[in-house]
Amino acid sequence: MLELLKEPWPWYVSGPIIGISIPLLLILGNKMLGISSSLRHTCAAVAPFNIAFLKYNWKSEMWNLFFVAGIFLGGFVGGVLLNNGEAVKISEATIADIQAMGIQSFEGLIPADIFNWQTLFSIKGILIMVLGGIMIGFGSRYAGGCTSGHAIMGISSLQWPSLVAVIFFFIGGLLMTHFIAPFIYQL
């Protein structure tokens, strides 16, 4: 059983479990799935200054911080305790494309030749880790949600603004992947 759990979980197992988190949160807590809001609550708790957007009772949203703390622990369960030590089995075409971006490390969940502390202190590292992070935080809040709140919760509850958001998530992602990232990764 443990050996089976250590294998990568196929989409038809993981997708439905992710979907089940929606009724779990609704029934057990009357909460709507959303992850990027945790970033807003943290800002409101740590550095609200005089910003209207960050002045609200973040303590009443504490559940969300517990939820993301759980995701962090889940990362440890999935990524350390249940780690089988094998590389992610992506398609041959993707391997070729990624190699063309100058990446040689295919171990683990993310490429070690990009995500390390030396690379962080370079233009490439700052763009990928810092600028990318800023865009994730800024964009998700501007859009009112991220992949969880819009793509999964929003579309599941048939909210058309969420569908619009997801379409533009993909437009942005495709523009970056095909036209901009190849240059940044080869800096």
Partner: protein
């Protein structure tokens, strides 16, 4: 502690995201190149189960365990879904992770991702700061 249940749902969520490799930079590359069905299968089947669950909850007027009526707040449309959505998508593809996977990756031991999270916090703060000046 009434919040422990949310922590536990988070553990389940994070474990699944990690074991199905949705947190993997490599899988995000593959997804945005349309070279595998994997990520689309995850998102699509999660939506299918979510949609069915919400339909059942509404149809049978299921109450929360506290006996409250279950509240699903409508998302309001704004230009943010277009402009912010595009910016988010670009960040997602550049760093190779969205917020859920960022937390899970730190748990899995990838410490440089803390920098991405700190930057995402800064981005969120900057949005709050510039919000009055941005088109909505």
């Amino acid at each position: 502690m009434k919040n422990i249940k949310f922590l536990l749902i988070g553990v389940l969520f994070g474990t699944v995201l990690t074991k199905t490799e949705a947190v993997s930079w490599f899988r995000i590359q593959e997804m945005f190149r349309f070279q595998s069905f994997h990520m689309y299968g995850i998102i699509g089947s999660a939506i299918a189960v979510g949609m069915l669950s919400i339909w059942l909850i509404k149809k049978f007027k299921v109450k929360s365990i506290e006996g409250e009526e279950i509240l699903i707040v409508d998302k309001q449309f704004s230009k943010g879904q277009i402009i912010g959505g595009t910016i988010f998508g670009m960040g997602w593809a550049l760093s190779g992770a969205c917020p859920g996977p960022l937390y899970a990756l730190v748990g899995a031991g990838y410490t440089t991702i803390l920098v991405v999270i700190a930057s995402a916090l800064l981005g969120t703060w900057l949005y709050g700061y510039f919000k009055p000046k941005l088109p909505h």
